[in-house]
C-alpha cells in the first residue's frame, strides 16, 4: 500500500531563517507530487507541482522553491522566511493528473516568528 510522509510535523522558525520541508512517498512509482499551503481558516493554495524528477511547476510567485531530487521525494525550501510564510503545508501525490484523487500527507505546521 502507498504511504506519504512529511516532516517535521511542526516547526517554529525566526524571520530570515532558511526552510526545508521534506515529503516522501512509498509504494508507488512516478507519482505526480504537489505542495499546498493552507492559511488559518482558508482553503488550500497550490504552490508547486511536479510530474517527474527535476520537473517543477510554480503556481504563485513567492520566496519559496521546490525540488524533486528523487522520484518519490519532494522538498520545499526557502532561503529567508517571511512572516507571511506561516501556515500549514501539505504534500500530496496522485497517479494521474486532475482526473484522479490526491492523497495527502499529515502536514507541517510552520510558524514564523
Amino acid at each position: 500500500s502507498q504511504t506519504i510522509h512529511q516532516w517535521p510535523a511542526t516547526l517554529v522558525q525566526p524571520v530570515g531563517s532558511p526552510l526545508s520541508l521534506e515529503c516522501t512517498v512509498e509504494g508507488t512509482s512516478n507519482p505526480n507530487l504537489y505542495w499546498y499551503r493552507q492559511a488559518a481558516g482558508r482553503g488550500l493554495q497550490l504552490l508547486f507541482y511536479s510530474v517527474g524528477i527535476g520537473q517543477i511547476s510554480s503556481e504563485v510567485p513567492q520566496n519559496l522553491s521546490a525540488s524533486r531530487p528523487q522520484d518519490r521525494q519532494f522538498i520545499l525550501s526557502s532561503k529567508k522566511l517571511l512572516l507571511s510564510d506561516s501556515g500549514f503545508y501539505l504534500c500530496a501525490w496522485s497517479v494521474g493528473g486532475g482526473e484522479d484523487e490526491q492523497y495527502f500527507g499529515p502536514g507541517t505546521r510552520l510558524t514564523v516568528t
Binding site: N32, Y34, Y36, G41, R42, G43, L44, Q45, L46, Y49, V51, S57, E59, F88, L90, A92, S94, G97, G98, E99, D100, E101, Q102, Y103, F104, G105, P106, G107, R109
Partner: protein, 112 residues
C-alpha cells in the same frame, strides 16, 4: 487559484441529522471531488464525481453534480460526532492541468 466555493461556511447539527453542503464553481470541469479535513490533519479523499455523472453514493455520502448550474452538493446522512470536520470541494482537470483547485471549505460540527 481557488475555484470552488462552499456554502455554508459553517454548519452545526445534532447527531442523526443530515448535513448538506454546497459547492459552486466557475469554469468547465472534468471532475469534482470532495475531501474531509479533521482539525490540524491532512485531507482525506471522500468521493469523486465526473462531469458526465449526476449523482454518486458512497456509504452515508451522496454527491450530486449539476454542470449547467456549475454546482455540487454533498449530503451526509445520519451524521455522527465523528463527522465533525471541514469539508472541501475541489475541481480538477482545468487550469494547472494536473492540480486541484480547492474552495475554502465548510466547517461541520456534529454535537451528540
Amino acid at each position: 487559484s481557488q475555484q470552488g466555493e462552499e456554502d455554508p461556511q459553517a454548519l452545526s447539527i445534532q447527531e442523526g441529522e443530515n448535513a448538506t453542503m454546497n459547492c459552486s464553481y466557475k469554469t468547465s470541469i472534468n471532475n469534482l471531488q470532495w475531501y474531509r479535513q479533521n482539525s490540524g490533519r491532512g485531507l482525506v479523499h471522500l468521493i469523486l464525481i465526473r462531469s458526465n455523472e449526476r449523482e454518486k453514493h458512497s456509504g452515508r455520502l451522496r454527491v450530486t453534480l449539476d454542470t449547467s448550474k456549475k454546482s455540487s452538493s454533498l449530503l451526509i446522512t445520519a451524521s455522527r460526532a465523528a463527522d465533525t470536520a471541514s469539508y472541501f470541494c475541489a475541481t480538477g482537470g482545468q487550469g494547472s492541468g494536473y492540480a486541484l483547485n480547492f474552495g475554502k471549505g465548510t466547517s461541520l460540527l456534529v454535537t451528540p
